[in-house]
């Protein structure tokens, strides 16, 4: 099993994670968003025995929060720059492979890429807009729910890059 960037020849039509917007994103938008619009980069998990079949994927992009957007009482304690973030825009596993740890494999790679980005160009944390029934799963990795997300929409969650770095350094 390996994770690499989505390629044009990858078979995405049969991908089914049970969620139509996530299926549709991979089938219809992921490639053009990556190569033409440069809106997000999609990474796919594949089995070397069937190297074109997508078993799971995640999409990353960068974002930032302008410093002046933060409430005044916090601005003084923040660095005098916009806050750079990585957006974990989507993460999905094909139903045929769910329950086998593939989601863990995918998010681990997303964290590693985030650390490399932080190392090279700077990044303060990872942001994810999470389906309500997946909040617990993300919380296990240390994602913290932000207050103020619309109750009928996804929950916005944040994980500090320094926490990820600590986890890496704490590894044997």
């Amino acid at each position: 099993m390996l994770i690499r960037r989505l390629e044009e020849q990858d078979q995405v039509e049969l991908f089914n994670c049970g969620d139509e917007p996530l299926n549709n994103y991979l089938r219809r938008h992921a490639w053009s968003n990556q190569e033409k619009s440069s809106i997000g980069v999609t990474y796919v998990a594949i089995d070397e025995a069937a190297p074109r079949t997508v078993l799971g994927y995640f999409t990353l992009a960068t974002a930032s929060v302008p410093r002046e957007a933060f409430p005044k009482k916090y601005v003084r304690g923040l660095p005098p720059y916009d806050l750079p973030l990585i957006l974990l825009a989507r993460l999905a596993v094909d139903r045929r492979f769910s329950g086998k740890g593939l989601g863990h494999f995918l998010i681990s790679e997303a964290f590693r890429i985030s650390l490399r980005v932080a190392e090279d160009v700077g990044c303060r944390g990872v942001l994810a807009d999470v389906y309500r029934d997946r909040i617990t799963w993300y919380a296990r990795y240390g994602f913290v729910a932000l207050e103020g997300s619309a109750p009928d929409g996804p929950q916005r969650m944040f994980l500090d890059i320094r926490t990820i770095r600590r986890a890496l350094k704490g590894s044997p």
Binding site: A61, R116, G142, F158
Partner: protein
């Protein structure tokens, strides 16, 4: 030695339709010695030839890394070392993440500001396991 990187401020002269630029660089003594040593070793007589060869090599490395290719040296016994330069990694496609705009509510921003203002949390066991793999 005084290698200059500042562009010539003289009006550009056309030499058969091509414009030439002058470069000026202030080198530390150790770098200066390195340049002299390399010029001698490579039998390069001028700074222009030195810069031209160095530029060609750097240009090739950037192009390769931009394509996602990794650059290695290999010994006669097959031992490999990867060339990793932070500046080159900036052009590597796996790190070239595009930028998007996110809309925020005031409470989300307040919540985020509170989180980034405090000391980072200790990693959970699941996160530690993810980074061990």
């Amino acid at each position: 030695m005084d290698m200059k990187t500042r562009q010539n401020r003289q009006p550009p002269q056309s030499v058969k339709g091509r414009r030439k630029s002058k470069f000026q660089a202030d080198l530390a003594p150790a770098e200066n010695r390195m340049v002299r040593g390399l010029k001698q070793e490579l039998q390069l007589s001028s700074n222009t030839d030195f810069l031209s060869d160095a530029l060609a090599l750097f240009h090739w490395a950037v192009r390769e890394r931009r394509l996602g290719h990794r650059i290695f040296s290999e010994t006669g016994t097959g031992e490999r070392k990867e060339l990793v330069l932070p500046r080159l990694e900036r052009v590597a496609p796996e790190l070239a993440l595009p930028r998007v705009e996110i809309s925020w509510t005031a409470r989300e921003l307040e919540s985020l500001a509170a989180l980034v203002s405090r000391e980072p949390a200790e990693p959970t066991e699941t996160l530690r396991r993810a980074m061990r793999g």
